[in-house]
């Protein structure tokens, strides 16, 4: 009703008193609602059940406090004492007083103790000091960091790289930076602990597929596709990822990258490859599993690697397109909230890259030596060798497993015997909670390019002897 006359208070009050009856009822109800609001208590939706006093007393009475520190037996395993290493580690290592050849450290390119690297590091310490005292966003970015990022990006062939100061935190921060609640991650069962922590932190739905089984992965992808067809609106907002490793730390196998890239484009799943053990190992120039299979890095979404193995530095890197990697500069928890890599370690990594670029034949040599040692060890009775034939990091498992404890004891006996005879190998240590399926205990052997053929022959001989002795001991007991 358009009214052109001016609004007068008296008129308004009069019409208020003559208001329609239903209106009074409605306003009365509304006022009652406001009063109810004022006197209602706040509650969380899932916590509406109230406990009676008796139930409360019962719950309080039955509570047993957990000890602040768990009993010592659980934290320090008496069957697995720590070995003490003295002096510098390199091709040779002094463990528990025994001088041994080092087949335990994953010093693939022999850069630990490299004189050239050490010289550069010394100069770096004199220029920058030791620590950086700050995260990358808060006065912790030095020119060595930027240089290392550029060099890594150029080496791998990606658009941009990002450096983390701790290898474990690299993949554990990269995954939750992209995958959130409601997203789906397809991941191999045998992935390392760092990836498992990253998956846990992401709060996404995790779908495990059998180790290196591309058919199982395809089945799971097809299943997800069927679910998506039923609910396309939901599917449009769910992000799907695949996380695999180039060479798996837990089994030494290589992933089937061409098939994975095919799945990526067929099922629209983003692909993250963790290349800690394949960077500086596979490929003609050591660029990793992408060069090995001749796949351009641009086909992968993210390449993550730890610089603590081949490059003999500390920390890790992520590389890929600028659009992808740049996101981690604000969302990668380990990047934003940890101090940046000490300059001397960044300089060591740069020098490692320099050495790699100058001698591109060390990679083929490394793989050849690894294959040689694997050949020698394959024939040992009582032991099964697991790993890609050219992988410098492979596993030895007991051929006929008995019980997990006895197998572990067997492997420890082998390791101890080898150590006493001058070859240092190690049992792959694992946390009980780490495993998704029951993986057998194994010895993990790492071959360095510094080892000569005689060293490899000696290692094979010592290991064979140790295994025979351990087998005889088992048969006898």
């Amino acid at each position: 009703m358009e009214m052109d006359k001016p609004w007068i208070v008296a008129e308004a009050i009069q019409s208020a008193l003559q208001a329609p009856f239903y209106h009074f009822i409605l306003e009365g109800l509304l006022v009652i609602w406001i009063l109810r609001l004022i006197f209602s208590k706040s509650y969380k939706i899932h916590q509406k059940e109230t406990l009676t006093k008796k139930e409360k007393e019962e719950l309080v009475g039955s509570w047993q406090p957990e000890p602040l520190v768990p009993p010592l037996e659980k934290t320090l395993a008496k069957t697995r004492p720590y070995r003490l290493v003295s002096g510098q580690v390199g091709k040779n290592i002094v463990v528990d007083g025994y001088k041994c050849k080092n087949f335990a450290s994953m010093n693939f390119l022999g850069l630990v103790g490299n004189k050239r690297v050490e010289e550069k590091i010394e100069k770096c310490i004199r220029t920058y000091g030791v620590g950086t005292c700050g995260p990358r966003g808060f006065y912790g970015t030095f020119d060595v960091h930027l240089e290392l990022e550029e060099r890594i990006a150029k080496f791998i062939g990606a658009e941009e790289a990002l450096i983390y100061s701790y290898g474990f935190a690299t993949i554990a921060s990269a995954i939750p930076a992209y995958a959130k609640r409601g997203d789906i991650i397809f991941v191999d069962e045998a992935v390392c602990f760092a990836i498992q922590k990253g998956l846990q932190a992401s709060r996404s739905k995790i779908v495990y597929f059998k180790h290196n089984d591309m058919n199982d992965l395809e089945d799971k992808l097809i299943e997800q596709e069927k679910i998506d067809k039923k609910n396309p609106k939901k599917a449009a907002v769910i992000r799907k990822f695949m996380v695999v490793e180039g060479i798996y730390m837990n089994t030494g196998q290589i992933c089937d990258l061409p098939k994975l890239v095919e799945f990526k484009f067929k099922y629209k799943v983003r692909l993250f490859v963790e290349e800690s053990l394949s960077f500086g190992v596979l490929g003609d120039h050591g660029r990793g599993v992408t060069e090995h299979f001749n796949i351009p890095v641009s086909k992968l979404d993210l390449v993550v690697a730890c610089m603590e193995y081949s490059l003999a530095s500390v920390g890790g890197f992520c590389c890929g397109r600028h659009y992808v990697v740049g996101h981690q500069r604000l969302s990668g928890m380990g990047y934003v909230f940890s101090a940046s890599l000490p300059s001397l370690l960044a300089r060591a990594a740069i020098e490692g890259l320099n050495i790699s670029e100058e001698n591109p034949d060390i990679f083929a040599q490394l793989r050849q030596k690894a294959a040689f040692l694997q050949d020698l060890l394959k024939g040992i009775k009582g032991i099964e060798l697991v790993g890609y034939p050219e992988s410098p990091c492979f596993h030895l498992r007991r051929l006929h497993p008995v019980t997990p404890e006895k197998d572990l004891k067997f492997l420890h006996d082998v390791v101890n015997k080898c150590m006493k005879n001058g070859i240092c190998i190690t049992v792959a240590s694992r946390l009980k909670e780490e495993f998704l399926s029951e993986w057998p205990a194994s010895i993990r052997i790492a071959v360095s390019v510094e080892m000569s053929e005689e060293d490899l022959d000696e290692a094979a001989r010592v290991i064979r002897h140790a295994v025979e002795e351990a087998c005889n001991k088992c048969k006898g007991s």
Binding site: E2, S15, A19, L30, S42, Y43, K44, R203, V336
Partner: protein, 153 residues
């Protein structure tokens, strides 16, 4: 949200309506909008009051019950990605002070608009519809409910 070393919550949307001075700011903004409408000479008093009520209700419905998630990145791995702002307030706790405030303001505006429009029937219909639009989505029974799957993802 990363705001340096300040006292932070994972999602500031959950606590913004408890910040000091924000209720007064909200009321003053609504009052200011009403004054602007009132100052337009082609609107009569009744129409401008009803228009205030309608604009307030529609804006409230849009900002509180339509748009979902956060405009900034949160550190809770996307917990509130599909939640409207109303569902995010106080992390879903019902009948907190902020929620009571938001349930009361449409009612107060409705009573005022009815009074100033002289209880005319057309104005009554419009105002009541807008009141329903403002109040019904705020009921705890409709927390997280998406009718016919509209606005679910």
């Amino acid at each position: 949200m990363h705001t340096g070393t300040t006292n932070q919550v994972a999602n500031p949307n959950t606590v913004v309506w408890n910040s000091p001075g924000i209720w007064i700011t909200y009321l003053l903004t609504t009052g200011f909008m009403h004054l602007i409408l009132l100052s337009m000479p082609w609107f009569t008093t009744s129409v401008s009051w009803t228009l205030t009520n309608v604009l307030h209700g529609v804006c409230m419905y849009f900002f509180l019950h339509t748009i979902k998630g956060t405009p900034f990145e949160t550190s809770d791995q996307g917990k509130y990605r599909y939640s409207t702002h109303w569902e995010q307030i106080d992390s879903g706790t019902q009948f907190t002070a902020a929620r009571k405030f938001f349930m009361t303001t449409p009612i107060v505006l409705y009573i005022l608009a009815s009074f100033y429009s002289m209880y005319d029937f057309t104005h009554f219909v419009v105002n009541t519809l807008v009141l329903l639009l403002s109040l019904l989505p705020k009921l705890p029974q409709l927390h997280g409910v998406r009718i016919f799957g509209i606005n679910k993802y």
